[in-house]
């Protein structure tokens, strides 16, 4: 056997091994821990939600899911890292609709989230409420908007950061109502709430974990809430009042190109969470809903949302 022949047969053998192995790898997926990138900082609601579901999901996936916090540039650092990762199903990202669907509209980015990421599922959504300090005269959302309309620029909208989860829904309401307000961004929901309580701001959008205790204590009043079901029993939804729902969707995504069978394994595992007792108990404790949505369904929603945001961004920043 000549050397040439030998090397050729070795090559064939090697190729055969690879061909033979690949279905085996797929069958074994996941065979090592999965990394879950969170493009946001420690201690936020994404961090907390992820800590809950990653402590339950190993029983359905057979592998650990390791959280990797990659904050920076408003979520762009982590998103870029997830998109650059090898599409083998071992790197996922846990993000939200404003990073995914709105941010690419604000400036030129080296990626296109809608094309480069595919949804595994929507875990749940955060439904914030329009809140004002208890001594403000407005009893309903319409009262407040009427005041804003009457005195342009007077109404101060305190946000937790530009184009974030608590600014965008509020901006949408203000735009639809034709109110010209002063936007003041704060570094996160905590400082924003402090500004409301101190009277530096007129209203903000706040998530139930923060707003709940303050509403019960009578320090602030909720005028309207996002989401499909009411957050506070006697406070109407934005939807009921004729506005967009304005939720923050918490979504698990994978870079494009992950084999379909692996996507299915992931989607099935996350779907099973919804019947898990521990998961449901923990989610209830942290005050989050389990408004799950399957990946393919959510992928259909993304371009639709993006078009709506495009109009909003154009109107507000005048670009």
């Amino acid at each position: 056997m000549s050397i040439r022949k030998l090397s050729r047969s070795m090559l064939v053998a090697v190729l055969l091994v690879f061909v033979g192995l690949s279905p085996v790898i797929a069958d074994n997926y996941p065979s090592k821990p999965i990394t879950l990138i969170i493009p946001l900082g420690a201690g936020g609601s994404h961090d907390l939600n992820a800590r809950v579901f990653t402590s339950v999901i190993p029983s359905y996936l057979g592998q650990a899911v390791v959280v990797k916090l990659m904050p920076g540039a408003g979520g762009q650092t982590g998103t870029a890292a997830a998109i650059k990762a090898k599409p083998d199903g071992y790197t996922l990202i846990f993000t939200h609709n404003y990073i995914d669907q709105l941010q690419p509209l604000l400036e030129k980015l080296p990626y296109d989230t809608i094309k480069d990421l595919k949804s595994v599922c929507r875990i749940n959504y955060g439904a914030s409420s329009v809140v004002v300090r208890a001594d403000k005269p407005w009893k309903t959302l319409d009262d407040m908007l009427a005041y804003g309309k009457k005195s342009p620029g007077k109404l101060i909208f305190t946000t937790s950061g530009n184009w974030g989860a608590t600014m965008t829904p509020g901006a949408r309401v203000l735009l639809e109502a034709g109110v010209d307000a002063t936007y003041i961004p704060y570094k996160g929901g905590g400082p924003a709430m402090q500004a409301i309580l101190a009277g530096d701001g007129d209203f903000m959008m706040s998530f139930p974990s923060q707003a709940g205790p303050l509403v019960e204590a009578g320090k602030i009043r909720a005028l309207a809430s996002a989401g499909n079901t009411r957050v506070f029993p006697d406070v109407p939804n934005l939807k009921e009042l004729g506005y967009e729902t304005g939720t923050m969707d918490r979504i698990v995504m994978a870079p494009k190109g992950v084999p379909e069978d692996r996507m299915k394994i992931l989607r099935d595992a996350f779907a099973k969470l919804n019947t898990d007792k521990t998961y449901k108990k923990l989610m209830k404790r942290i005050g989050e809903n389990i408004e799950y949505m399957d990946g393919p369904d959510y992928d259909k929603l993304r371009p639709v949302n993006q078009e709506a945001y495009r109009v909003l961004v154009k109107k507000i920043s005048g670009q």
């Binding site: 201690g43 916090l69 990659m70 920076g72 530009n162 570094k187 101190a198 303050l214 404790r285």
Partner: protein
Amino acid sequence: MWDNFLQGVLLTLRWDTFGMMGLGLMLGMFVGALPGFTTIMAMAVLLPISFFMDPMVGIPFLIGVYKGGIYGGSIPAILVSMPGTGASVATTFDGPSLTKKGKSRKAMEMALFASVCGDLSSDILTILFIGPIAIMAMKIGPPELGAIILLSLIIISATTSGLFIKGLVMCFIGLFFSMIGQDPLGGMSRFTFGFFEIKSGIPLLPMLIGLFAIPEILQAVEKKITSFVAEEFNLKAGEKLTFKEFRRSIKTIIRSTAIGTSLGIIPGVGQVVSAFVGYAAAKNASKHPETYGKGELDGIAAAEAANNAVNGPTLVPLLTLGIPGDKITAILLGAFIAQGLRPGPQLFTEQGPLVFALLVAMLFANIIFLVLGYLTIPLFAKVVTIRKSALLPLTAIFAFAGSYVYRSDPFDLLVLVFFGVFGYAAKKLNFDVTPMVMGYILGPVLEYSFGQTINLGRGDTLHYIFAARPITAVILAITPFITAGLWWRSARLRNKHIKEPPS
């Protein structure tokens, strides 16, 4: 309230509470001591464990990690000049010099005692004055914050080892570095030249390690000394702190505790600022300010007592309003919520005994920590007695590894090298890099509050400040006088130096 308090004390007296708190303290200390790992990371990773524990076990466990981690961060700062966070930068002024004199154990013991004293007394003050602290915290909005930071930056620039003007120059360079990346208010990219890597700004940790640890390594190589601790002191590396030395610093510890407790009311920036202000105050009050920065135990006490005294008051907005002031309290909030406790105005009335139990647990954590910390110090002190030929490469490895593990981004290594060279050059030119670091850390906060104030004033900022913000107006009014005073003092010190050059 007294009933609640007593019930709370009884709730804490449990073996598992104490055991897990001790475990948390040790874990926190070791993680905090590792360069590149932060207390916040440790807490975020350990948070889910607390979900499955009893509230009276899980939350003290996290509190343990938190307290242990903050002290742990001062260990590499003292030994190899590697501050893990902005809060331990002030500890690097005297720590490494003490280590070189063979007093690393003394330094670490002083840091431990000062930390525990500062923390304990601020916790007690917090429990006693939780109401007034909550009201005061509400008074600090963006304009006040901006004014306080402006004044702090001037004080920090003035207390550096060199000239005031040099300090200011470095401070401005730091402010400039902080502007690289996304602008905090509008979200626009600045000074990135289209590079995506620096869009999120320059990372703090590689910058700190580069500025403080790399020049130390280079200098040690330059001097060709064979041991990190000078030969003649080597045997004394294990010498303990004497009571006399501790007593000498009691005044400093009390002063720093007062400073830390009052600055702790300012959310987010308290720890960093208070360590510096505490240090500056001690230097000013001392009869021999020239020894500060050259291995003065009192300097360690000043910085460590101040940055730990912040811990108590930072919890107040969290407990009374459910508002986390910084990332650490945000993680604690997560732990509270997952346990079914919702921090807010009603937490005290609904869960009074439990809240007091947690506060009392914090007090006990300090005492346990005093014992655990004291027992482990000799272990850490041994590190610097390793031969230089082994210690220096090890430090270099830790510097690079620490910078990398922080975000697992190779770009951070470039940042480390850049600031390493920058720090070395600055040292050779007698520029102190501290004001730069502070400018860098506080720059975004200053910019944020400046922008917010402009927005709040709706075009007439000056009128707004003087009409609606009396505290800001007062701080801004005294700032020029303080600046002039510091300038004058710096000029006088310089003249003195020229007349009688230091031996």
